[in-house]
């Protein structure tokens, strides 16, 4: 469910890569403080939105045989018998103490639960995006450089095609072919890297491939478009007029400038993937954050939903912050603003 597109975030002004450490630290602090209203808004809207939704966690736990007394007992033990504002205030005050509360279905502490599940998701998303960037950016730049050639047309067509395949469908087909027909990778399960890196790799290979393929489509096009844009500019002609060889023109002059806008997109893609990963985790039955969220929603596990949402929002903010901090490395002009 890619929502990534055109222009960068709402505002963008970061201290330079050349800014002093104190400046950068202050800036990071400022940005994080500035994110607080957003996070609060997220927290509040999640809290109240979820409670608008019909469905009762106590009922879900007790199932079809629930008696009214049993439901009331369970609700009381879940802390759901108090009024909404009181519940919200309680949750917020807990939150300020760094406590995300406990899952009302499993009783686990939400904080560690999220971190635990995030490991899987982060591994997949980061690997997929890294692979996609490593493959797509050079491909897109070469395509732009040879604009109009057969190679370019092939790259763009491939990218557009990849972009047009639903990721979950691709995932299923990969699973069918490589898991079932060929038996190269296990079909279900997950082992953490800490346990057995080699086995872990096998489990997350297909999800990574699926995500990477789709993102490659997005990134090739973006890298190509921004490279074409850059190649039109005078400083490229200037470099050539100095007798700079083409390889150097591409690497030293076109790449950093063309990569800057792509970087923004990478940030957005990362953020979006975190939100949309649930589908992939469902296909590959991975115990990740997306799956945790969807399951928690289905189970009306309010503390978990709230925690995950807040966490995702925080990651989203941080990723964009990281992109902003990295941006001046490729485009020092940004630092000036």
């Amino acid at each position: 469910m890619s929502r990534a597109t055109a222009p960068g975030p709402w505002t963008r002004h970061a201290p330079g890569a050349c800014g002093s450490f104190a400046e950068v630290a202050l800036y990071v602090l400022k940005r994080l403080l500035a994110a607080i209203p957003t996070l609060l808004l997220v927290a509040a809207s999640v809290f109240f939105l979820m409670r608008l939704i019909p469905g009762d966690p106590a009922l879900l736990v007790l199932g079809d045989a629930a008696t009214p007394e049993a439901i009331a007992d369970l609700r009381a033990s879940m802390g759901l018998d108090r009024t909404l504002p009181v519940q919200f205030a309680l949750w917020l005050s807990q939150l300020l103490g760094g406590d995300l509360g406990f899952s009302i279905t499993s009783g686990e502490a939400v904080g560690p639960l999220i971190l635990d599940r995030f490991g899987v998701t982060a591994a997949i998303v980061l690997a997929a995006v890294a692979i996609a960037v490593l493959l797509a950016v050079p491909a897109g730049m070469l395509a732009a450089w040879k604009q109009g050639s057969w190679g370019d047309i092939a790259a763009v067509s491939l990218a557009t095609l990849l972009l047009s395949i639903p990721s979950f469908w691709l995932g299923l087909i990969l699973l069918l072919v490589f898991g079932l027909k060929l038996g190269w990778v296990p079909v279900v399960g997950y082992v953490t890297f800490a346990e057995n890196p080699w086995a872990a790799l096998h489990y997350i290979l297909l999800p990574i491939a699926t995500l990477a393929l789709v993102e490659i489509g997005v990134l090739i096009r973006m890298a190509r478009a921004s490279t074409i844009e850059v190649l039109r500019l005078d400083y490229i002609a200037h470099a050539r007029a100095k007798g700079v060889p083409e390889s150097r023109v591409l690497l030293r002059h076109a790449f950093p400038n063309a990569f800057a806008p792509t970087l923004t997109l990478v940030g957005l893609v990362l953020g979006n993937l975190l939100g949309g990963i649930a589908v992939i985790e469902t296909v590959f039955t991975l115990p990740g954050l997306g799956r945790l969220l969807v399951d928690a929603i289905f189970a009306r596990d309010y503390p978990v939903i709230q925690g995950v949402m807040l966490f995702i929002a925080l990651v989203y903010v941080s990723v964009n912050l990281a992109v902003d901090l990295l941006y001046p490395v490729f485009d020092p002009r940004v630092a000036a603003e």
Partner: protein, 269 residues
């Protein structure tokens, strides 16, 4: 050359899907929701061109009906997203100041939400229905539209004809509607085309998680979702709607590219 190829291929793909939908409004080989439990999961045959699904419904008919639903939902969603997004984008781009800041915060909040949660929440509150999906996805995509519109408003408002309009004594509202709004048309058209594809994708992803347009109405997304258990014994059941989604997306993407090129001021003027 590339431009025309994009236009031709994209147009053909979208046209074909659209034609399928229009045809489905008038005629399908069978009633797409008619179950026949004695004919479940039949392979393709002369009677059932693409076979039958787990309820013995004709897959070809359902694909056609699905085109109507999927395209209809996508079109309505795009309209909702555009309406909301353009309003927000115009307001925050043109008025700037605190309006921009507040809308920016709300927008960021929405963007920080995984679309699924937003969709689920709204769907559960409104009740699962086509209009629910449309509203939910429309809201989910509105921030993206708002961002694009705001960006183009910001650049347009710096153009001198906007100032000229002010200098004529025209009111802000008039200037906004008469001189700024029309100029967001190009980027918004391009965006709308891509959006169309994304919505089809998202609707199918939501259906896949069991949150989409409620069955038994056929959408490609929920067909794909219900076909998934039969991936092995009836692969066509999943391949066909998946392929249609891909075709539709490809068409939308190519058309979007063509439009982008067409509307690019560098080549246009």
């Amino acid at each position: 050359m590339r431009l025309r190829l994009n236009l031709v291929i994209g147009g053909t793909l979208m046209g074909a899907v659209l034609a399928l939908a229009v045809l489905a409004l008038a005629w399908t080989p069978y009633d797409p929701t008619r179950t026949n439990l004695r004919r479940r999961l039949r392979p393709p045959s002369a009677d059932y061109w693409l076979g039958t699904d787990e309820f013995g419904r004709d897959v070809a008919s359902r694909l056609m009906a699905g085109a109507v639903t999927s395209l209809g939902v996508a079109a309505a969603t795009v309209l909702v997203a555009l309406a909301i997004g353009i309003a927000i984008g115009l307001a925050s781009g043109f008025l700037r100041g605190w309006v921009d800041r507040v809308l920016g915060a709300v927008n960021d909040t929405l963007l920080a939400f995984p679309g699924i949660l937003l969709a689920l929440g709204l769907l559960a509150v409104i009740g699962p229905s086509r209009s629910g999906i449309v509203l939910a996805l429309g809201l989910a995509y509105a921030p993206t539209v708002a961002r694009v519109v705001r960006g183009s408003v910001l650049s347009i408002r710096e153009r001198e004809f906007v100032e000229a309009s002010r200098a004529l004594g025209n009111s802000e509202a008039y200037t906004l509607l008469r001189h700024v709004l029309p100029h967001t048309a190009a980027p918004v058209t391009v965006l709308a085309t891509s959006l169309f594809g994304w919505v089809i994708l998202s609707e199918s992803a939501l259906s896949f998680l069991g949150l989409g347009v409620p069955p038994p109405a056929a959408t490609w997304g929920n067909m794909l979702a219900s076909a998934r258990p039969f991936m092995q014994e009836a692969p066509l059941l999943s391949i066909a709607p998946g392929a249609l989604i891909a075709i539709c997306l490809l068409g939308a993407n190519l058309l979007g590219d063509a439009l982008r090129d067409l509307l690019d001021p560098r080549d246009g003027a």
